[in-house]
Symmetry: C2
Subunit: 275 residues, 2 copies
Amino acid sequence: MNDLNASSCAPIGIFDSGVGGLTVCRKISELLPFEKIIYLGDTARVPYGSKAPETVLRYARSCAAVLLKYKIKMLVIACNTATAFALEALQKELDIPVLGVLRPGATAALSRTKNGIIGVIGTRGVINSRSYEKTLKAQRPDIDVYSQACPLFVPFAEEGWVSGDALFHVARHYLEDLKKKKIDTLVLGCTHYPLLKNTIQAVLGEDVMLVDSAEETAKDVVESLDKNFLFNKEKEVTQPLFLVTDSPEAFRSTGEKFWGTSLMSVQWVDICSTS
Amino acid sequence: MNDLNASSCAPIGIFDSGVGGLTVCRKISELLPFEKIIYLGDTARVPYGSKAPETVLRYARSCAAVLLKYKIKMLVIACNTATAFALEALQKELDIPVLGVLRPGATAALSRTKNGIIGVIGTRGVINSRSYEKTLKAQRPDIDVYSQACPLFVPFAEEGWVSGDALFHVARHYLEDLKKKKIDTLVLGCTHYPLLKNTIQAVLGEDVMLVDSAEETAKDVVESLDKNFLFNKEKEVTQPLFLVTDSPEAFRSTGEKFWGTSLMSVQWVDICSTS
């Protein structure tokens, strides 16, 4: 990594398969109001969570290529599946700092658990990769980790079905075993899941702590900017620029559920040439 | 269309966004055991139903391009969303017969309804396109058509959740209004939905007829082969060749739910260069 290549007034690039990463983008934007942000949602190829590692790596590379055209000074992979399958490769291949959402979530879980029994939920890709388990065990070999893929949670969140009987039945099906294992902390290992927090909490009970990696990732971004002397010195607050590979309209309407307010600037980008 | 370009012993090409089109492929293979079939599931970019018309058209063109390399004599679009957004374009652009699943489903519904009140369910793309409504009304302007997008049905079918409380709650939410409209026939306007037939029937009651376009589409294929003198004269039974753009393993395991038995030959194809 060569910080001579990066200008501190350059934007931070963030990407996700779709709208889920907006939960991470929002936290970064709140902590760092003077940073320019470009967010890419690869909505033409969403979801990533059910696809093969090599496909996700290829998609992550093409997302990075789109963002690099904007001369970004840092890349944040705001998607657990893409972090699991592409973080290491992109860190080697790019000469700017590349951060993911996985390690921050794991670190937060370790700092919160009291009984040393941690649950992890995520897409099938993330759970099959055992990335969280390895990261948690590397730091604390003594803890117990139980994982569960919850593939239907993403479509429920995307559709805005964040409560109700159907979601409750699905959540109970997925979470029952974790509850029996007496986990006291649950890592929400997918950036879509914070939207389903209330139902997940209702199924597991109030004693289980839910860890959402968005906040911890934002703290990692602050630390990395600091370490690399990359804080933007211009004190101007700008709205993020949102790029999408499918229809801007669909992103705008679903995205607002994740972003909280309306998304000002959403543009379509052609990802074909780099896919 | 120039039938001199097509050889009768050439294969029939079929594509879908993923595994759903296997319901159509199976019917074609049952009716036409001596035809060679190449099926392409665009699993790296599934689903199509939530994506923009121009994105789906681009994907459909690239699927057709992959199949054309195999010198197919006929193209079947075994996906309702791709039929709605790409059938007309591909019929103009290609010099082989191109068939879709939409008109056969509509024709079957018209032949079955007694009270002239037809319901249509499908992906958001298909429902927003109003393609079924237009096709039905063009043939019978006097009938009433009520449509409902059911975006969560595809992930339920893909996950193999084809019964149970959660699906029942989702189905009741989607179908309640159609039931109130007193439809006597429901078009399953997505090739995934036949897997959810039992639950859909349970919600609507036994009096409502469910129309699945797979069978009608297969009949259309027979008719078009006949008309174009394209029946294969070689009387050899071969298994279809399955091509996928994501992992063959994932397709094999989900695909078997749709196909009934194990899928013998599944190969990965690179769709990047044509996407």
